[in-house]
Symmetry: C2
Subunit: 576 residues, 2 copies
């Protein structure tokens, strides 16, 4: 029997609510989007008492399902005004599941200015005032909490950005070493947590146990087979563990869609400095770790530890998106500068994609030269200090574009573009335009078929077939985001039907349900419908499902293509 | 025969287009909204080449119709993303009409960074590079232009804010003394002009002549009678000429809807320092001028000249909205500080309403104490200097609220509220919520019936009847904004049907048309429909026709009322 923790910051109460016994599995994004969609007033101010922050592991969380410890964080987004699910690794998802917690729902606003910690253990949950955490970065915050509660805790925390309620603020989740390196980065959810005066959620490990499965043997068998499929797959068994997510950099650059200098070019002349091979070699030569799992039970291990020339810890191994955002997008070809920014983003509590895109806009406005790594680092220091310039940057690319009168601002629904230029991979452009989340590659990763030719081959430069591709991927991704499984497990699905069969087998064996492929697809559609319904009531229309006009006006070198998927075709993404 | 000037900043061409001979009068807001609605891509970036800036006097412009020299400026607004008509006095409307120009349409973006002046004379129009104007405020700009072209020119100019493309930037129009004191303030249209590299539009007087009327005698007779109605009316014949627009301050404060300290109270304890009587006495005691017309042919003369203790010119007599915005809304009860801010806004080229509301938000965020006049002046200096803080402020209340994580932000569609709290005058709340322009009192001035009891009596504290009231006013205002007549002429309409009959008589006598009351109402509806259609295509929905939630949550002293007009009733505003 799983439960929901209902936290009301208005009267500072915490109460438990039992989830109805499951005939229809729920968890992760399905749970966060269901609650936000049904309980949050869609036109409310995201920082008001009406908004709710929902944290939910997937239904496979804590079970030992391979790569099953992901966590969904949902709310109305301060960045986009739309519904938001931000998906994060780290050790909190499993920890919650092992305490029988399916979700935490934080509503209301406190009447005072105290900063609070939500402390969760096997004995229950309570809100504790801790004003000594005020103004601390995520690293100091988790250090302080670990000193108080021990090293085995899992933490969700916000840094200075969340306390300042900046729209680019993330929520950090501790990794296996207890460091705040995994982030629910997108959509400014750290600002929602900050508006509620909640600095941290601390989850005690003690007393937690593996959730009981309806059929343990069947579960174990399916899980084992699923792990094998992950190990056998070329991407999850070799590419990702060897080079991390940055394995992609060279491929995407070669294909001409690696956005460079605020989306002015599609190839970066300093790619050799920042590609996957260079990253791995640098880390290994310095004694770092190039193969590391972001959470217990992950069999891919695409993460790593980046160290400086003296072998001292700097940050986690920066992800592909981060290396692009703080690298090519700002004309910066220096891994050390990028890793320092990754560390700063993690510490201040900022989305690396939003920050890199924002600094690109600042550079385009002429405030800083493209390529100025020290200048870019200085901008993040401004955010930490809460200076006016820092508050502009920390509010993201859209606000920054508005403040500096910039016309070339790569956002959809107010959220910055990830590391793929949609003019040369039009499927991902459809996802950016039509996702319920704003520009988000993880909502429907068309790069697989556009560029990597996994699971299909859709010409990236032509408009044809992109809408169908994106629709299919958006549906299947939504369902996967409910399970607690990592998005990267989808690579196994391109090898044949067995992977999804094993996911359904694990689900049924664990929950005693009897769900099938048809149900799975319906689940994905149901999530998207709930999200779209929220967005519609919040005022979003087809006009918001568009890319900024410069993507239709300015051809991107080297292919010199524009984004030309017809608007009326974009509007058919929702036809399912 | 009237003409349109088509200016393309892309190829730097200017060409003339003849307006079809009139069976249906067009001008002012009807012309700007028709052109923007049909020619501007509703989803375009407001600072892109796709946006067009349209300047149009009314069809009565230049004729000598009393108070007939108003000018409409339209575009897609950088502040709201919606269509925008900003209405302004000063001497440019008549000057254009007297050169036979019904409108100026400026599209495209220049390929270079030069700053240009559009010079218009009886001989034609041309674009001239003038980089010496770069970085100048509106006062220095008009001084420079007058030194070059003579004192009799009319100017539309932008200050530093427009050059920086800030969303709070206005377009200044020179007054009868050639000072840049009249502003198309709302919606950031100065940023559109700035994005096009256009610093000024200079209109030569020489060679201009009164547009020929189809029936001069009939026109003259109707105009004379209309002038008499304006002189006989209590508001336009006495209140406004004696005290200026600030005549309202005491009334609105007494009624408990004078927004104070960022809409936290409805009455200002320092009202005696800033009301109409004090303003008039201060001006007269110092040798200023408390009765002054903003344009030739105005028979109301609600403007004035504010001087300092030594009798030196400071600014125009600040308007009611400005005295509120920089006064009570910021807790500042000092007319001299307010007049200095009025002058700064006019010089930098900023909307006084947006700036006052923004500074109120900054004070609410705790950056500055309420009441700190010198601090507020310092913020405007930051805008002039283009510092990061200045760019936040200059971008308006919404961006400022986002940057500083403020929840109490009085905006609709991104535009700041004017000087009437909608919780205690619910008719104006309906107008704020549902206007095509964002929060805008001039779109449907329900205060007349809610508070002043002119033309009807609708209880301001009850939700009943407010939607009908606002709908009626929005329709009639839209039609009036097409004529070139000042909004204040509507006061005469409350005395009986003769005023509108005279407006129609002047129209028919001048243009040789045969329009009637029914046509007038249809014109208003047609304008609103065109504007709504643009907004719908831009992505606006009923969810955008709402007040911020704090107006529904926080009761306003002294009446302790909230805004409670039902949402579904708000949605019937468009039922016409």
């Amino acid at each position: 029997m799983r439960k929901l923790l209902r936290v009301n910051m208005g009267d500072l109460s915490v109460r438990e609510e039992v989830l109805p016994s499951e005939k229809e599995p729920t968890g992760g994004r399905h749970l966060t989007s269901s609650i936000v969609s049904s309980e949050v007033c869609p036109t409310c101010h995201p920082l008001s008492a009406h908004n709710k922050l929902v944290v939910a592991p997937g239904w496979l969380g804590g079970t030992g399902a391979p790569c099953g410890g992901r966590l969904s964080v949902g709310a109305k987004s301060p960045l986009t005004g739309s519904i938001k699910e931000s998906n994060v690794g780290g050790n909190a998802g499993n920890a919650l599941s092992r305490l029988g917690i399916a979700g935490i729902v934080v509503g209301g606003l406190p009447a005072d200015d105290n900063l609070r910690v939500l402390h969760i253990s096997a004995d229950g949950a309570e809100l504790v005032i801790d004003n000594e955490l005020k103004g601390l970065g995520n690293y100091d915050t988790t250090d302080t909490l670990q000193a108080e509660f021990g090293d085995s805790i899992s933490c969700l925390t916000i840094g200075q950005a969340g306390e300042m309620r900046l729209s680019g603020a993330s929520i950090a989740v501790t990794d296996e070493e207890g460091r705040p390196t995994r982030h629910a980065g997108r959509g400014g959810l750290g600002a929602v947590m900050g508006s509620k005066g909640l600095k941290a959620i601390v989850i005690e490990k003690e007393g937690g146990q593996r959730p009981e499965s309806a059929d343990r043997d069947a579960f174990s068998k399916a899980a084992k087979r699923f792990a094998q499929l992950l190990r056998d797959n070329e991407v999850t068994g070799d590419g990702l563990p060897t080079y991390g997510t940055n394995d992609l950099a060279q491929v995407i650059n070669d294909a001409g869609l690696y956005p460079t200098r605020n989306f002015q070019q599609g190839q970066f002349e300093l790619i050799d400095n920042v590609n996957g091979e260079t990253l791995r070699e640098t880390i290994l030569a310095r004694g770092g770790n190039a193969k590391h799992a972001c959470h217990h039970g992950c069999v891919i291990a695409c993460s790593g530890i980046f160290v400086d020339e003296n072998g001292e810890y700097v940050s986690k191994q920066p992800e592909y998106e981060t290396i692009w955002a703080h690298g090519a997008n700002c004309g910066i070809g220096d891994l050390d500068a990028i890793a320092r920014m990754d560390r700063m983003d993690d510490d201040i509590g900022l989305d690396t994609i939003e920050m890199g895109a924002t600094i690109g806009v600042v550079m385009d406005a002429g405030l800083l030269e493209f390529g100025d790594g020290e200048g870019a680092i200085g901008l993040l220091e401004e955010v930490r200090a809460g200076t006016p310039l820092g508050r502009i940057i920390g509010s993201g690319a859209k606000v920054t574009g508005q403040a500096f009168g910039v016309r070339r601002v790569p956002v959809v629904k107010g959220q910055a573009f990830p590391a793929y230029d949609p003019r040369s991979a039009k499927g991902i452009g459809v996802t950016y335009a039509t996702s319920t989340m704003g520009a988000d590659h993880t909502s429907g990763y068309a790069i697989d078929q556009n560029i990597l030719k996994l699971g299909g081959d859709v010409d990236p430069l032509k408009p044809d077939g992109q809408v169908d591709l994106s629709r299919r991927l958006q549906i299947s991704t939504a369902a996967l985001d409910a399970t607690g499984l990592c998005l990267f497990t989808t690579y196994t699905m391109y090898d044949g039907p067995e992977a999804l069969e094993m996911i359904l087998a694990m689900t049924n064996a664990h929950l005693g349900t009897n769900v099938d492929l048809e149900w799975w697809t319906e689940l994905g559609k149901d999530i998207l419908r709930k999200e779209r319904d929220f967005n519609t009531r919040a005022g979003f229309t087809a006009a918001d499902d568009r890319l900024p006009d410069f993507f239709e006006d300015e051809p991107l070198p080297p292919h010199n293509t524009v984004f030309d998927v017809p608007h009326d075709e974009l509007d058919t993404v929702i036809d399912f």
